[in-house]
């Protein structure tokens, strides 16, 4: 049996393992281990499994994940999401569609402390949805804004998506974080444009909110300033070369914790629950990383990535044709797969193709994360839609999916702009010290 055929069978076995409800990380681990055993023997398979597990759990760069997750969890528990939403609400809430625009702005701001789309959608959704309901917003617009806005969590740094991408492709976490800033802001802007367009066509879907005085505006802004300061210090620190991403995460988490405890926003007694929640999410991500690190060498042994590169070159689609084919594949896979798992499973094959075609790996990291975001709101398995459904229980699932559709097109537009103008993602990393 040829190594390529073993690889194809391995990929098929991976899909079977996923279908039979095996955890994604475990499925990658088992199939990678089994594949190496078939090609190189039991000894090599066990040795690879052991050494890859060790190198995964002791990888310094990966410690950025739990530290940023901790920072986001503390910020959520301290109610800082409310402060960020409140500030946005005070400034634009009185406009038509203003509450939905505030929701997106609040999501974008909270995304800068949280690396998770789900966490962003939940924390902002809990604050914003009741408010939009109170002012008579259409359910579709309200839930769509939260579900789509929440996806900014993995584009605007810190982002678990970027960390996984960086680890799997050996790219710089810091550069990827910084590369996500402008596309994140662009996407947030496009989301706001969607809200404006919807409320211009159907004003009854997003009536104007209450008027706020200048004093209220300034007070709301003042409340959000400490957290904005932490965001600027940690992400700005990476950009200026003051911190490594791990240091930015550690210092950011410490600052948010001190801020929350000193200002009385969070009691220390909540810390055990927050720590347990953080390490649980960490273990979940690490099992996937361990699995990916064992599956990767198996794929390399099968030469499938090289074979695919050659096959695609023979198709004669050209770099952009191939890229669009890959993105189409991602969009389809995103309908059924968890985004991070999809990234981990496909990157060992897709990344060599992309770099072989001459595309910038940092730029493709941003593209990949946006495609993951699209998957987060695409039926039938749009996890952010389920999360929003958990907060807005009375809104039918169909209404939420219909509500996110215009935002999905905004993501596609953002993707198009990034393909046309790669500098949107690459300008800031090029300026880094």
């Amino acid at each position: 049996m040829s190594e390529t055929l073993i690889g194809v069978l391995g990929i098929a076995a991976l899909f079977v393992a996923l279908i039979i409800r095996m955890p994604v990380g475990m499925a990658l681990l088992v199939v990678g281990f089994g594949g190496i055993w078939v090609i190189d023997g039991q000894r090599a398979a066990i040795a690879t499994m052991s050494s890859e597990t060790y190198s995964s759990v002791t990888a310094y760069g990966l410690s950025v994940i739990p530290l940023f997750v901790l920072m986001g969890n503390i910020a959520g528990a301290a109610g800082y999401s409310q402060c960020l939403y409140g500030a946005a609400h005070a400034w634009v809430g009185r406009l038509r569609g203003g509450l939905a625009a505030s929701t997106i702005t609040g999501c974008a701001a909270f995304a800068a402390v949280s690396g998770s789309s789900v966490a962003t959608a939940v924390t902002i959704g809990k604050v914003a949805l009741p408010e939009m309901k109170r002012y008579g917003y259409a359910d579709g617009l309200a839930t769509g804004a939260v579900a789509a806005g929440g996806t900014l969590g993995i584009l605007i740094p810190p982002s678990t998506g970027f960390v996984l991408y960086a680890i799997l492709t050996e790219e710089s976490i810091g550069k990827l974080f910084i590369a996500g800033i402008l596309p994140g802001l662009l996407l947030a802007g496009l989301f706001v444009l969607v809200v404006m367009a919807i409320t211009a066509i159907r004003p009854e879907e997003g009536p104007a909110g209450p008027n706020t005085s200048m004093q209220e505006k300034l007070l709301a802004t003042l409340h959000s300033l400490p957290l904005v300061g932490v965001i600027l210090a940690s992400i700005g620190g990476i950009y200026l070369g003051v911190f490594t991403p791990v240091e930015a995460a550690g210092v950011g988490a410490t600052m948010v914790l001190v801020l929350a405890v000193v200002t009385g926003a969070m009691s220390v007694t909540r810390l055990p629950g927050i720590l347990t929640e953080t390490v649980t999410m960490t273990a979940m991500l690490y099992l996937i990383i361990i699995g990916a690190h064992i599956f990767g060498p198996f794929l390399a042994l099968t030469h499938i990535p090289e074979t695919l590169v050659l096959g695609l070159q023979e198709l004669g689609l050209g770099p952009y044709g191939t890229l669009l084919l890959i993105l189409l594949g991602y969009v389809i896979l995103g309908m059924f797969f968890d985004g991070l798992a999809m990234l981990v499973v496909t990157l060992p094959v897709v990344f060599p193709i992309i770099t072989g075609l001459g595309f910038d790996p940092i730029w493709f990291g941003v593209i990949a994360v946006i495609v993951i975001e699209m998957g987060l709101i695409t039926p039938p398995v749009g996890i952010n839609v389920f999360v929003v459904k958990g907060v807005a229980r009375d809104v039918p699932m169909g209404t939420i999916f219909k509500g996110v559709l215009p935002f999905w097109f905004a993501m596609a537009a953002c993707l198009g702009l990034l393909i046309l103008f790669p500098e949107i993602a690459l300008y800031l990393p090029a300026q880094m010290k």
């Binding site: 393992a17 279908i19 409800r21 095996m22 475990m26 060790y54 791990v246 550690g250 810390l271 979940m284």
Partner: protein, 171 residues
């Protein structure tokens, strides 16, 4: 594919409580890492004196953090898995799939545990240490073998409960 929805509130079992405390131990270790990273930055910029080797503590400490939390994450069903085919599998299909998935998991992880334990013993015998602070490497390998052993125990417990409850747990 989705992380399973949180279970309805019910009384925590003894194994769950023990593993939750272990995960909390991992959380406290993470808290220590957070403090170390911040202090290290503080020392470097404000006192002009970096804490040499702090990176090694973070690296070895992360192995402890992850492995203390791994069994609790498995016990509470928080590892991401595909669930969109569940309806099509039916109750009997889900029962068989879980059985196969858990048995394979136990077998493969058992091989990993044995190798990691051997590595830990070797590292201890040959006094393998990190470069700067000379932290024994067996700690991380030991954490892997212990954490994964509890992971296997969780899978075995889930398997036992699966047989005990039979199909009723799947309907």
């Amino acid at each position: 594919m989705d992380a399973p929805a949180p279970q309805a509130a019910r009384e925590e079992t003894l194994p769950e409580r023990i593993l939750r405390y272990a995960a909390l131990g991992g959380g406290l270790a993470l808290f220590g890492i957070m403090a170390l990273v911040s202090i290290s930055v503080f020392f470097r910029y404000l006192l002009g004196q970096p804490i040499l080797g702090s990176q090694e503590i973070v690296e070895q400490g992360m192995a402890v953090v992850v492995m203390l939390a791994m069994p609790y994450t498995a016990m509470t069903g928080q590892h991401i898995r595909v669930d969109i085919f569940d309806r099509h599998l039916g109750a009997a299909g889900r029962f068989i799939c879980d059985l196969v998935s858990r048995v394979i998991g136990i077998v493969v992880l058992a091989l990993l545990i044995r190798k990691a334990a051997d590595k830990a013993l070797d590292a201890h015998e040959y006094e393998d240490v990190t470069n700067m602070l000379e932290i024994p490497v067996w700690i991380a390998y030991g954490a892997i073998s212990i954490g994964m052993s509890f992971f296997v125990l969780v899978l075995a417990l889930q398997l036992w409960l699966q047989f005990k409850r039979g199909m009723s747990g799947y309907e």
